[in-house]
Symmetry: C4
Subunit: 217 residues, 4 copies
């Protein structure tokens, strides 16, 4: 791999990863918590319980969004675990990724607000899907750049790197398919995003293991 720029210039720009991690954790934390401000408390009325239940698309959107940001954070954590040093281009690629993370509350809000109208929902589901695609795509770009520029720790074997690459590489085709489905039947795309979210955030294997352990002891 050919490196652009003289070696001494690159040494100057070699940076610790701690601040990149701290800014990222801050933005992931805020983006995943801000949406709680959308959970409106209906005024006191005889049928307040019904009103609370009727708000279910907002709760669902909050859950999907939290799980999605959680999944993006998991991938990002694993990348920084492997990183040895950062350079200024990696920091900027990371800023682009963080931009799409910080903006996710907007399409999530649309998803909740446009649940009742099929036409508006089509728009919301498509914008939401494109945002997910951008988050996953830039996570992958970040990783490829780090590997290509030899920014990952030397003790990692090539097999480790390849294993992570195959995990992080976005299944761009499957995302494109879900975005396409959303253009025709928005509700099915919502259900698919929910399934992906639940699949990611619930550690099924851990639950199964704890249950097994509980029944044995």
């Amino acid at each position: 791999m050919s490196d652009a720029g003289p070696p001494d210039r690159r040494r100057v720009l070699s940076l610790r990863t701690s601040r990149m991690e701290a800014l990222s954790d801050g933005i992931f934390a805020i983006a995943s918590t801000l949406l709680v401000l959308d959970l409106a408390v209906p005024a006191v009325q005889p049928d307040v319980a019904q009103r609370l239940v009727d708000q279910w698309p907002i709760y669902l959107a909050y859950l999907v969004s939290f799980a999605t940001i959680g999944q993006a954070w998991l991938g990002h954590s694993v990348i920084t675990e492997y990183l040895d040093r950062a350079d200024s281009i990696l920091l900027r690629l990371n800023l682009v990724l963080l931009f799409f993370v910080s903006v996710l509350p907007f399409p999530t809000h649309m998803l909740a607000a446009y649940f009742s109208s099929e036409n508006a929902e089509r728009i919301a589901v498509t914008v939401y899907g494109l945002n997910l695609l951008a988050i996953n795509g830039f996570t992958s770009v970040l990783w490829h750049y780090a590997v290509g520029e030899h920014l990952v720790s030397q003790d990692r074997s090539d097999a480790d790197l390849r294993a992570l690459t195959s995990k992080l590489d976005p299944s761009l085709i499957s995302y494109a398919v879900v975005i396409g489905i959303g253009l025709v039947v928005p509700k099915i795309a919502v259900a698919l995003y929910l399934l992906i979210a639940l699949f990611v955030i619930i550690p099924f294997r851990a639950v199964a293991r704890l249950v097994r352990r509980g029944t044995r002891s």
Copy 2:
């Protein structure tokens, strides 16, 4: 305890705990501070002092919520103090816990808004109790998983681990009792949650010690 999965697979996924701690601290900090946005400033009027005093349920809800998140943070801090490494399942269990932390401002808001209507208050108190139960339950699950998977530091004695287990294990029965009380007399459950919150956040022993020291010197 039998470990599932081959050892080499687990080595790849072994992670530092620093990012898990940073994301958690960010979400704990935001969830405990966001509610200040609910403290409305009444318009200037002759009886503005009275209006400010009349808002006391909102102040109370803010205090209870801050104390509750503070207590959850204390338990979480002690767990990460013992943790040596994390694996991807621990990170996901932590995300589930953080979900319930990030959502707490919503039932707290309900608690403040529904204070005057007994029927609505019953709903708010019950949802609030279930949220507390989830936070404490998942903190306990996190700890049991970490101990079961040998993720805690090797220098900790078994006595230390058992001591922490007996402290963190949620008194699920007592929570169920308070939730049950709330269904019948919501105001008493509010008082009990306040007592628990004050008991947790005020370091009585430290105050007593400082007073003793002050009177001696």
Copy 3:
């Protein structure tokens, strides 16, 4: 100094200070940034410039609040710099301090909203002063507890500790005086809080030094 509790029990509870620092930095950061949401943008009108200028009490309140939280953060940073370890009581004293930091946006908001009415302003200035008193008082309590329980680093000389004590100890009398002044002439108390804030946040000596250096070279 007599220590309550058996020594082995205290060893178990000895904790790193990193998470206490991270939660504190998160809450300080959010409390000082959230108020920007109060800076309302007036609707487009012929006299929009005048409208923006008329909002000056809100800008002033934002500045005072930011400077006050900044000053509290400076004191807190110096304390954690000296800390070697934390115990669970210190963490709880810190949570009480953070409670008063997180709540400061509320009286700051009152300060901005009640600027035009002397009666309402008296209330706002008094609540603001009490909040400042609580922040400074608990910062001092935190430090006295840490020194009393030998939680500070062993390499610090007694002279260092005494120097910091004399700096951090709140001038409770002077605060009481400003709160008293605020009850009689609120505007003067606002001016005094502003003077304190400007004095704290502007590093006069650094500015003077840079000017001197600039004129020499």
Copy 4:
């Protein structure tokens, strides 16, 4: 360079940079994420897609603001990378810088709201430019102070320091020029700020390198 103050006094005040970094990352993260709350979701209507497209000045303002805060964060990261220790004056200079970062959402909001009226836009563009000038100016002050007080790491060569100085020193004249242009033709200044923002946040060289690598393999 002559150092004011006796050396022993300065030793007492010498501080780690970790808390200064954590507070800064928190404020950068919040300031860059808070604006997502301004992205309003229009009510469901037949022409909801058109309404969403009509909001483009808000999206543009969000993008410019995120990129601007990202650029400021990049400069700040590089400075703290070089820092060895901090003193209390550096912490205060940093607080002044953070003040201007935390306030940026306000002029950004003005930029979005006043896009349709040339007179109001002139005000917004000027305030925005002055805020950018303050952020870049204080970043430069921070660096000059750190170098002047020998707070940077000893292993850095003088050539390294000079290289960073020439990068961080704000092109004050060019900013003054853009602010001046904004007074005459606000729209051109907006376009210039957008160009600067895009130039900073998009890592053109990385994109080009990845494309080259992709076409070769």
